[in-house]
Symmetry: C3
Subunit: 288 residues, 3 copies
């Protein structure tokens, strides 16, 4: 009997995500063990149950997926598992993608990097204080962009800078943008504009980016109308609009899903993978 | 790798029903994702997780089953999912059978219809104000019966009439039956008698139906002793007793289970099936 | 289509044990239905759902596993299911191993019995008032040992004696051991010493058992440092130390796991197995 690929789905929401469970089966997992309402205190028993049950050879057939709508809690879960629970070779591979933030950010930056040389470019992450914004900004900074990260409130943009510094050791520039004039100003001289606002939050009108002479690429990550960036079609996948290469949320989402599935599959190749933002981004670069 | 048949089991009870999960595996489902304690507010995330994960071609390999002991909540869940959450082709097949009420009512009426021509007949649904009673009455009315629905309290019978009107657009006659005389009276001239009372609630004595000159068929849906209709054996499957064709709860239950399994299997033939009472009844008619 | 082996995992903890679920898949179960937060009141619906769904021939493909960290609740669940819920042939096989107490005790006594003739021997179960201690004491008494069971508090040892009497109809001698002198005293003339204390609780120093002239076998069931019995290596599997045969917790644990897996597999051979301590011990005796 072949050893089954078993995935522990640890989710801080009351009901573990049906999306994440179905995605795991799509990725070839044989059995998903779904746990909802998971807090940090629940981790030792759940994780040791995965680590101590199977033989050393079968350990790579067990893996952990951390989801849930709370990104800070998901991050804390990953840190707790890797730093406080695993020890020596007593570990299994683990992937963290709370609220889809890692795979979405990875997909968005991979999309841009395929059409624009990133090093030395000026990138603006609009409404970037949320999890996707912080992660997109970090990846762009890592690729050598000067990144401005905007929020309607300066403190939020500053808090996002702090998160990027602490977690990734990189710098981004916090910018408060209260109105259209602020948006226009921050986009002046920018090469890349990426919308990372909440679902359904309109960020800028079409003419604001269409008339910008320096922008090369425009990306929206919001698939729920009204779109975050006006004039973008959610299906745009490198479409040329007003002389800029445009990516809509569904095109980003399609790559996000491919990264998600490829990452899940790769968990079972070894028992010591840790797939966080950077690793998911690298996986994304290898995909079509 | 073949796409797995995945069923979301949405159950309003704290623990999702083990019966429904096992039945799904019996019906050939590859993976059941069981969710207990589901309320209407939980539906968008759970359902979208099922609708947006797989490719359009694989959508028919995902389906939703609505169970739980609360029939009104199960009905509201079906309505919410079909009318407020699904849109365009973004849907999966769904079956609703809260508390087994739809499959039980469908099986009972299919049984009767196989031995009695229903059109124009007088049917009495005894203790019919519960979910199985309301649904049995509706199906009988739909087949052209004049249906009397009894309850110990007139208001309950009237409320059942209202439910049949609103949900099915059909008429049944509410009758208060406080004692044996009332039962005898409502059965006068009836062709069909069906007991739909709560488990273990005795409704009528054997002589009451045995001595009735017009009754052709007698059906009991209560499998827990004492049976609802005296003198019926739970295993009776069209047995001739006192000149009437008699069906016990286990015979009805066997067909109920066949309908349940066939319906579950049929969910995966398309991605737009909605299997509620009427559809389950039609499936029942096609089964041996 | 082959009938799937389905295991109901009933667990009184909020999250059903990931260890028990993975072990079930390792044992060849096709689908585990995991239920956490299970109380006695939940049992009828959960168990009947397992008993009434499948045909009589397929009943042996469904089984129940009772886990959870509360041993008294696990015992009550087994009793309720077997005595109040199952009836006639309406039953499935069931195994109880709350907190691993049954398989651990069975493995420890099997290990000793393989190197020491148990009948007529004097055995001391150190810190034996917990579930593993009570069960180990019972099995040793059943094999003909005179068993002393120690606790730092006499009442606890007496309560353990009561449990062994009531549940197994056997006698053990309760002994209060407040300090090293007490430990030395109770071990005087003993042939077997077994540590059953809580994880990480040191019970006796190495010299205390090393210098004992009568001891033949020494067993520790605590795998978390500091070990319960000093000078024992957790990997010891019948090692000769100071002239005694020594077993550490990991060697016991390896056999425990084999018993667990073999027991799970045997559930599906019939539909009427009840695997509690005694049966798990018998299974352990048959394993390598």
């Amino acid at each position: 009997m072949k050893s089954k690929k078993i995935l522990l789905q640890l989710d801080s929401d009351r009901h573990a995500s049906s999306f994440d469970a179905i995605a795991a089966y799509e990725a070839g997992v044989d059995q998903v063990l779904s746990f909802g309402g998971v807090g940090l205190d629940d981790l030792p028993k759940l994780v040791y149950g995965a680590v101590f049950t199977r033989s050393r050879e079968a350990l790579r057939d067990t893996a952990i997926y951390i989801g849930g709508s709370s990104v800070p809690l998901g991050e804390a879960m990953l840190k707790t598992i890797c730093e406080k629970i695993f020890f020596d070779s007593k570990r299994v591979s683990v992937m963290a993608d709370p609220n889809g933030s890692n795979t979405t950010a990875a997909a968005a930056v991979v999309k841009i990097g395929r059409v624009v040389s990133l090093s030395g470019k000026r990138a603006v992450v609009l409404a970037g204080s949320g999890p996707v914004g912080v992660r997109t900004a970090a990846l762009l900074a890592k690729e050598g962009c000067h990144v401005a990260l905007t929020s309607r409130r300066l403190e939020r943009a500053q808090e996002a800078r702090r998160l990027v510094r602490e977690r990734f050791g990189l710098e981004v520039e916090p910018v408060e943008t209260r109105d259209e004039a602020g948006m226009r100003s921050v986009l002046q001289g920018a090469d890349i504009a990426l919308g990372a606002g909440a679902a359904g939050a309109a960020l800028i009108h079409e003419d604001l980016w269409a008339s910008n002479p320096t922008l090369e690429a425009v990306v929206d990550t919001n698939a729920v109308p009204p779109l975050g960036i006006g004039g973008v079609d959610a299906l745009d996948n490198g479409a040329l609009r007003h002389g800029k290469l445009v990516f809509g949320a569904l095109a980003v989402g399609l790559l996000k899903m491919k990264i998600h599935l490829a990452a899940l599959a790769s968990l079972f190749e070894r028992n010591d993978r840790v797939l966080d933002l950077e690793e998911l981004y690298e996986i994304g670069k290898t995909l079509e």
